[in-house]
């Protein structure tokens, strides 16, 4: 019997397909489309300690085989999130992962505390957020700065802790090794690439913030390389993502060593993409007579 289930550290996923943060709301939004409990897991929209209204101006822009977003972490804040969504998420038969962002270390830590107190399934620590104390440079660029957040979060976090890495990191392998050293249960990568777009008629940047985050099929070849590098260097499990739009892409990330894969932008191409990928992986395994994904994980 084909078995799609995977163990990600202490977490058990019924299949490796997880919906990426910021592209799948809090799950609920997709309920009317399909039974989301068929998914291996979901990551929530990034939550910060306090409510955020997000960025002004245009928030999405299409590029060649990709898109730029500048949502700016709009979210209801940790308390309201817990009140409104935690029971719902915990009632779901899937692994629900709370994605946490912040602009100071204290903010991160307080959010992690609240999440842990409310017994969430797992936390995904998004270290791509701008660090206000470092002049807005993201926490996830320099390993030393990221280490401070990860260490403190690990200290107080009593649920599985996954650190989500930024492809803008100076050295993504060092970053992943640091997470392993600090006791993270796993890493996920990649977040969006810092990028920009211009309106030449107005002679202005498209986004009020000038830079925005690039995602979608265009980034897949780079994301895949980064996941490969990280998987070859750490022994904690990895969630791979970046431009996955079909089951073949998903298998590529598994073949370079990912335990789970996340799907973001592809939800906007096809809201049922999660199910399609699960079915695609299943059919492939049956055709190729693969009993467990362990047989092909990291084969490259």
């Amino acid at each position: 019997m084909t078995n799609l289930s995977v163990k990600f550290g202490k977490l058990n996923f019924k299949n490796p397909v997880v919906m990426a943060s910021g592209t799948f709301g809090f799950g609920k939004e997709y309920e009317r489309i399909y039974d989301i409990q068929k998914l291996g897991g979901i990551c929530t929209k990034g939550i910060t300690l306090n409510k955020r209204d997000g960025n002004s101006g245009i928030r999405v822009w299409e590029t060649s085989s990709g898109m730029l977003n500048s949502v700016g972490l709009e979210n209801p804040g940790m308390d309201k999130f817990i009140k409104e969504y935690n029971d719902y998420l915990k009632s779901l038969d899937l692994v629900s992962i709370v994605n946490i962002g912040g602009s100071t270390i204290d903010e991160y830590i307080e959010s992690v505390e609240i999440a842990c107190k409310n017994d969430v399934d797992a936390i995904e620590l998004n270290i791509s957020c701008p660090n206000v104390k470092q002049g807005g440079i993201a926490f996830g660029i320099k390993t030393d700065i990221a280490r401070q957040v990860v260490r403190k979060a690990r200290d107080i976090c009593n649920v599985p802790l996954i650190v989500k890495l930024s492809p803008n990191a100076e050295n993504i392998v060092d970053m992943a090794l640091m997470c392993e050293e600090e006791g993270a249960d796993g890493v996920s990568l990649v977040n969006t690439f810092m990028a920009m777009a211009i309106n030449i008629d107005k002679r202005k940047a498209i986004f009020d913030n000038i830079y925005a985050g690039l995602s979608g099929p265009c980034i897949k070849p780079i994301a895949l390389r980064m996941v490969h590098q990280v998987c070859k260097n750490v022994s904690i499990p990895v969630m791979g993502m970046g431009g996955i739009t079909n089951y073949k892409d998903a298998l590529e990330f598994i073949m370079v060593g990912a335990t789970c894969i996340q799907v973001g932008t592809a939800n906007f191409i096809n809201p049922r993409i999660g199910i399609d990928i699960i079915n695609g992986i299943k059919d492939y395994m049956e055709k190729e007579n693969i009993k467990s994904l362990d047989e092909i994980r990291g084969i490259i």
Binding site: F24, Y30, G54, R59, V60, S65, M67
Partner: protein, 229 residues
């Protein structure tokens, strides 16, 4: 996958696309349309223009890559439709005006059919489209070409105004109705990605905080919307 019945050019750079099938949807709602495989990346939000027992139709203007591809669809070609998404114009009673500017007339057709006994105002910059079809649904029918439709609209005549079109036009109507009994509903256009409320790229600022145009809208009470965006 659904089948195209027809896709006619009707003037002003606009096309009327009719798709076969039994579709759900009410006035003001929209579908995400996709008549291509990989490129461009995102699907395109288009309002329901009309809906029948065995068809749905869309009225759209060619402005860029996506609508260009749509315009090339022929009878029997296939298209993917996801929806219906969004809220609807409210089903109210009283004296109602529907006010459309340019391509904004698109969702008003189904609204007129649903609400009945409405007055219809349509403003165009150059050519007019579908006058016969809309006129047929209107109690009183007003059209301007090359002149602001708001110049001939007396908001105080109406209990409700439903409007769709350029932001300045909608803002003007909301301003005109300030302090009057008239309730104005506006249909907002924002760039979208998911269409279902999951990505927050379509946020519309309102007096009661951020709303998702795709899920909490596209129809908002005019007074609620913060227009200076």
């Amino acid at each position: 996958m659904a089948k195209v019945i027809s896709n006619e050019y009707i003037g002003e750079g606009m096309y009327l696309l009719k798709v076969e099938g039994k579709f759900e949807g009410s006035m003001g709602q929209f579908y995400m349309l996709r008549a291509w495989d990989e490129y461009p990346l995102l699907s395109r939000p288009i309002s329901i223009h009309d809906i029948g027992d065995d068809y749905i139709s869309f009225l759209y203007k060619v402005v860029g890559k996506g609508t260009k591809i749509l315009s090339k669809l022929k009878c029997n070609d296939t298209i993917k439709l996801e929806g219906p998404y969004g809220n609807t114009f409210p089903k109210v009673e009283g004296k109602i005006a529907l006010v459309g500017g340019g391509m904004g007339v698109a969702p008003l057709y189904l609204a007129a059919k649903t609400l009945k006994n409405v007055d219809i105002y349509m403003g165009f910059s150059k050519e007019t489209i579908l006058l016969d079809e809309y006129r047929y649904l209107a109690d009183t029918f007003y059209v301007t070409v090359g002149k602001n439709i708001t110049d001939i609209l007396d908001v105080s005549e109406y209990d409700y105004i439903m409007t769709c079109g350029p932001m300045p036009m909608m803002k003007k109507i909301v301003d005109m109705a300030k302090g009057k009994k008239t309730k104005v509903y506006v249909s907002i256009e924002k760039r979208m990605a998911c269409g279902v409320g999951g990505c927050l790229v379509c946020t519309c600022k309102t007096k009661s905080g951020n709303k998702r145009t795709c899920l909490d809208g596209p129809v908002f009470l005019g007074d609620e919307v913060i227009f200076d965006d």
